[in-house]
């Protein structure tokens, strides 16, 4: 197992070959400020709670919306998550980043809500052999897919596959952080990403897009 050196995903990362811009992440004033907010929230500080809310409002709502697919449900969940943060701030031990903790709460609430409304869509494969190199060869066929095609394929992805893709590419979390958010082992994160990529490749290769 390789040793992991955490690079705060919410800071600008010069090593990112992807070069993505994460607007929600850039709103944050930094990991230390977030920790300070949490400590103050634990003391009942409304102002710190409001600052944290504004820092996470957009990215958190977007994540919830894309998971549950309905803005009114996402809004309700957003309230729920923030109340959870308010009530749980005193128990936050700092073992993970604040963003990982908050997204963990959000993911749990969203999945619980989906279990009630769409039980068939929640349970997905959590483990399995990942050794299908043949699939990788298909990349050559679809690497030239237009951005619009990829965007539409993403919109058609299974909710949980899209969640892993989003947590990686939009929220810029590392795979151990995603494991914390999803509450699963790191290998499960890799497996889900494998299947997400496979589903994406299938969608692009089959040309099922409108």
């Amino acid at each position: 197992m390789l040793e992991r050196k955490h690079t705060p995903a919410i800071e600008a990362n010069p090593r990112s070959p992807c070069g993505l811009s994460v607007e929600g992440a850039q709103v944050n004033a930094g990991v230390d400020s977030e920790l300070e907010w949490i400590w103050k929230i634990a003391q009942g500080d409304r102002s710190a709670f409001e600052q944290l809310y504004h820092a996470y409002q957009k990215r958190l709502f977007g994540y919830l919306y894309r998971l549950v697919g309905k803005s009114d449900v996402a809004e309700e969940l957003m309230n729920d998550v923030m109340v959870g943060v308010w009530k749980g701030a005193g128990r936050f031990k700092g073992n993970s980043k604040v963003s990982t903790w908050i997204f963990g709460i959000a993911h749990f609430r969203a999945i619980s809500s989906l279990r009630r409304t769409h039980p068939d869509e929640v349970e997905i494969e959590d483990a399995g052999p990942i050794a299908d190199t043949h699939e990788l060869q298909e990349n050559a066929l679809i690497r030239e897919s237009t951005r619009e095609e990829v965007r539409r394929a993403l919109a058609k992805l299974n909710r949980q596959h899209r969640a892993v893709i989003e947590l990686t590419f939009y929220q810029e979390f590392s795979y151990p952080e995603i494991a914390t958010i999803l509450g699963c082992p790191v290998n499960t994160v890799k497996t889900r990403m494998f299947y997400a990529r496979k589903e994406l490749r299938d969608l692009l290769a089959q040309g099922t897009l409108p």
């Binding site: 390789l2 040793e3 992991r4 050196k5 690079t7 990362n13 010069p14 090593r15 990112s16 070959p17 992807c18 993505l20 811009s21 994460v22 709670f49 409001e50 809310y53 409002q57 709502f61 977007g62 919306y65 894309r66 803005s71 996402a74 809004e75 957003m78 309230n79 923030m82 109340v83 308010w86 009530k87 990942i130 050794a131 190199t133 990788l136 060869q137 990349n139 050559a140 679809i142 690497r143 897919s145 951005r147 990829v150 965007r151 993403l154 919109a155 893709i165 989003e166 990686t168 590419f169 939009y170 810029e172 979390f173 590392s174 795979y175 890799k190 990403m193 494998f194 990529r197 994406l200």
Partner: protein, 216 residues
């Protein structure tokens, strides 16, 4: 030590290579692998497209006017209900103690009755036990012999007192009192008045004894 990872292992790292969150070691391994692996180069190209498309997709989320005041009201409400629940539980606890259910009342009554009976029996048993005397010579029960009250002269030594007691076969059962009086028990039954009187007479001739009298 150089770490060897398979193509499958390294291809799994590609998404996090693309978002720049791999450790330095993992990053270096993937980068090295990419130099020679066409499939991974293609996959990375796709992942880059995915990253950009995902960002575009994320930006398409509807703009809902979220209100912090609403969230704050919900947070405050949860605090208020928590406090109310705490107050309610304390009041319930007090009420339960003050107005216990009938089963508890009966149980408490039975326990109290058992305690009262137990204490009564214990106290009765204590009273029936024969009293013991505690003297300088130890704890011994009375033999029922005749008793004398004796006052030794001020300068009488312990050895002299021992000799006197040995000569009459007596033992101290009580004393000294604040006036210096001792109670001596003789190995003679109280009915044997003559024998007792001869012991008293003998003691009165002893200069170490200021006062001796038979106890009624």
């Amino acid at each position: 030590m150089k770490i060897e990872l398979s193509h499958e292992d390294l291809s799994q790292f590609l998404p996090w290579y693309a978002n720049g969150t791999l450790s330095l070691e993992e990053y270096a391994l993937v980068e090295e692998h990419l130099k020679t692996c066409g499939a991974c180069q293609d996959a990375l190209q796709l992942l880059r497209n995915v990253g950009v498309a995902m960002t575009e997709l994320a930006e398409e989320a509807p703009m809902v006017k979220l209100s912090f005041d609403k969230i704050w009201a919900a947070a405050e409400n949860s605090e208020t209900s928590k406090r109310a629940a705490r107050r309610r539980s304390f009041a319930d606890w007090l009420d339960a103690i003050w107005n216990p259910p009938p089963q508890i009342t009966r149980l408490v009554f039975v326990i109290q009755l058992a305690l009262i009976l137990g204490l009564g029996i214990y106290s009765y048993t204590l009273r029936r036990e024969t009293p013991t005397y505690t003297t300088l010579s130890g704890t011994e029960e009375s033999t029922g012999g005749a008793r004398l009250t004796i006052n030794f002269a001020t300068n009488t030594t312990v050895e002299q007192m021992s000799q006197i007691l040995s000569s009459i076969g007596g033992r101290i059962v009580s004393g000294p009192s604040p006036l210096g009086m001792y109670v001596i028990e003789l190995p003679v039954k109280p009915e044997k008045g003559t024998e007792i009187q001869s012991v008293v007479d003998k003691l009165r001739t002893n200069g170490a004894i200021r006062f001796v009298e038979r106890q009624p």
